[in-house]
């Protein structure tokens, strides 16, 4: 039974990649392209969150802080010193990773809900500081100037969304490959080990504190990439829209809905939820009073109660291993 199960997965994987590449030529309408770009952006965020939440049980609400640091770093470097957003993206990633590690070090020893609440407090602190820090535009936010013509180096395109589409797709793909590489390497095994039984892992030579920080650093780095993309895509960032609990929580929902602690779970979650919310908002939003989000929440509760492991488990098929012990 085992071999064709892996065949089926590879087939699905290629079908998805093909669909993603061809999609903008089939759906030429900007609104549909916008939805897919959001799917990719949230996809990268969900994967990044899952490295911490799914693989290391460090459930965090801080994802939008890393996203925000990415957005703000590249924007300020571009506005104040004219540095290309690409370099800004890299710098934002490293800064976000560094900050993630520095701040998480004391709190990463904490378990479960303590760590979650600490990240909530951390999110609130960063948002309040940004709102009152004039250098970064304070509450007024930062507006990126509209360039006259598109330019890759300045990361801004006027006519169509295609460049944005493929850049975000590339970022998502690289995020996926990096994560897959890490998960299947020594680090991945150590993370899964320290998730289940930290003491046992320590007794086998795993420096649990260091590997938690590696997971946090990587997660922060990938989230910052999405942040820079968002800044260049919307050309206006202010604290509430970039560093908000709403964004953090949306990422958590997507990842858990799809199935956390797996590689493709978060992606599946994004592929279902992001189009759904956008369509419901476009369809009912105009007339409805937030019905869209009520439907969204209802589905989440249903999924949690029916399928606590997340949707992806539905497609995993029978348990990989046979039951050795009767």
């Amino acid at each position: 039974m085992l071999p064709n199960f892996r065949e089926r997965n590879r087939l699905i994987f290629f079908a998805v990649v093909l669909f993603a590449v061809v999609y903008p030529f089939v759906f030429t309408r900007a609104f549909h392209q916008h939805i897919m770009i959001m799917v990719f952006m949230y996809g990268l965020l969900a994967i990044a969150w899952d490295i911490m939440g799914g693989y290391t049980n460090l459930f965090s609400f801080g994802q939008s802080v890393f996203f925000g640091i990415g957005a703000y770093t590249s924007t300020i470097l571009f506005l104040r010193w004219g540095i290309s957003p690409w370099l800004g993206m890299a710098a934002g990633g490293c800064l976000s990773g560094l900050l993630g590690v520095l701040v998480s070090y004391p709190t990463s020893r904490l378990r479960g809900h303590y760590f979650a609440i600490a990240t909530l407090a951390f999110l609130f602190v960063v948002q309040t500081v940004l709102e009152n820090w004039k250098f970064v535009g304070g509450a007024q936010g930062l507006t990126l100037p509209l360039l006259q013509q598109s330019s890759l180096w300045q990361f801004q395109f006027r006519e169509s969304k295609l460049p944005y589409y493929y850049i975000m797709l590339a970022l998502l793909a690289s995020g996926l490959l990096i994560t897959r590489g890490v998960i299947n390497s020594r680090v991945g095994y150590y993370l899964r080990a320290l998730r289940e039984a930290p003491e046992v892992a320590q007794s086998l030579g795993v420096n649990t504190a260091r590997y938690r920080l590696i997971a946090i650093g990587l997660s922060a780095f990938l989230s910052a990439l999405s942040g820079t993309f968002y800044a260049q895509y919307v050309l206006y960032i202010d604290p509430p829209s970039v560093i908000s609990l709403g964004l953090s929580v949306e990422v958590v929902l997507i990842s858990v809905f799809g199935g956390s602690g797996t590689l493709y779970g978060p992606l599946l979650g994004t592929a279902i939820l992001i189009p759904l919310t956008n369509l419901i908002r476009a369809w009912l939003g105009g007339a409805g009073k937030g019905i869209a989000y009520m439907v969204f929440a209802g589905i989440i509760i249903l999924i949690c109660v029916l399928q606590p492991e997340g949707i992806i488990r539905l497609f995993k098929g029978p348990r990989k291993a046979s039951r050795g012990y009767r």
């Binding site: 299947n184 390497s185 020594r186 095994y189 150590y190 899964r192 080990a193 289940e196 039984a197 003491e199 046992v200 892992a201 320590q202 007794s203 086998l204 030579g205 795993v206 420096n207 649990t208 348990r319 990989k320 291993a321 046979s322 039951r323 050795g324 012990y325």
Partner: protein
């Protein structure tokens, strides 16, 4: 220099003194048994050596290097591996993955680590269940897996915490053979055990602990006839006769 030197190790939990100035030494490749009634401080001593507890006073040296209060992963990296009294494996991972976590200490690449892991599984006779998820193992198999995980870090000293508890006589003999096989590869072993028959047959030397103090040390025969030991185990009245 000595293989393992433990001198004047003291560990207090608030008022309770779990280990009171315990000292002993080990030369390489030896099987040392540690026995004593419940609450004598055996597992505490284990946790002090393996870095899970911080020692209040005294020192621990392994192969001449000071490992007092070193973090557990550093102690393991030095070559001191341990199993746990309450067996804990990585439930959601397969057997080979469980062993690989330890193997990664010596071999960075995934391929080499997997190879070594399969080797260890053959050694502990669980190779056929390599892709089984640890949760589905029987208790004795889980304990053997625990042993395998400790072995996979290629230790020079292996500390076994009640590996024989709750096993049938046949299973106990299997474990004893395993320990002898390990000993044959030059690895030093410390065994904490309640099953007197097992510890008596396997150990070359035995230390007896009672309420935190070392009350006796010697060969299994000396210990069996030692006044203090009997009193500690069987209570005041018996010792009189």
């Amino acid at each position: 220099m000595k293989f393992l030197q433990v001198n004047q190790v003291t560990k207090r939990f608030g008022g309770l003194v779990a280990n009171d100035k315990i000292s002993f030494e080990m030369s390489g490749g030896e099987i040392l048994g540690i026995v004593g009634p419940n609450g004598a401080g055996k597992t505490t001593l284990f946790n002090c050596i393996s870095g899970f507890y911080r020692v209040n006073s005294g020192g621990i040296h392994f192969e001449g290097r000071d490992i007092t209060n070193a973090p557990p992963y550093a102690v393991c990296a030095r070559g001191v591996a341990r199993t746990f009294q309450i067996v804990q494996n990585f439930e959601k991972m397969t057997l080979v993955e469980n062993i690989m976590v330890g193997a990664f200490l010596k071999w960075r690449r995934k391929g080499k680590a997997e190879e070594e892991a399969l080797e260890v599984l053959r050694f502990i006779d669980l190779l056929d269940k390599r892709n089984v998820v640890a949760r589905h193992l029987s208790p004795p198999e889980k304990r053997r897996l625990g042993l395998g995980m400790a072995l996979s870090t290629q230790p020079k000293l292996l500390m076994l915490d009640e590996t024989m508890a709750g096993l049938t006589p046949v299973e106990i003999d299997e474990v004893l053979d395993l320990v002898r096989k390990i000993r044959a590869t030059g690895v030093g072993v410390i065994v904490i055990e309640h099953v007197m028959r097992a510890v008596m047959t396997i150990s070359e030397r035995i230390i007896v602990l009672d309420s935190g103090k070392k009350i006796a040390e010697g060969s299994p025969d000396e210990i069996a006839h030692n006044e203090g030991v009997i009193r500690a185990y069987l209570g005041r009245s018996y010792a009189g006769g």
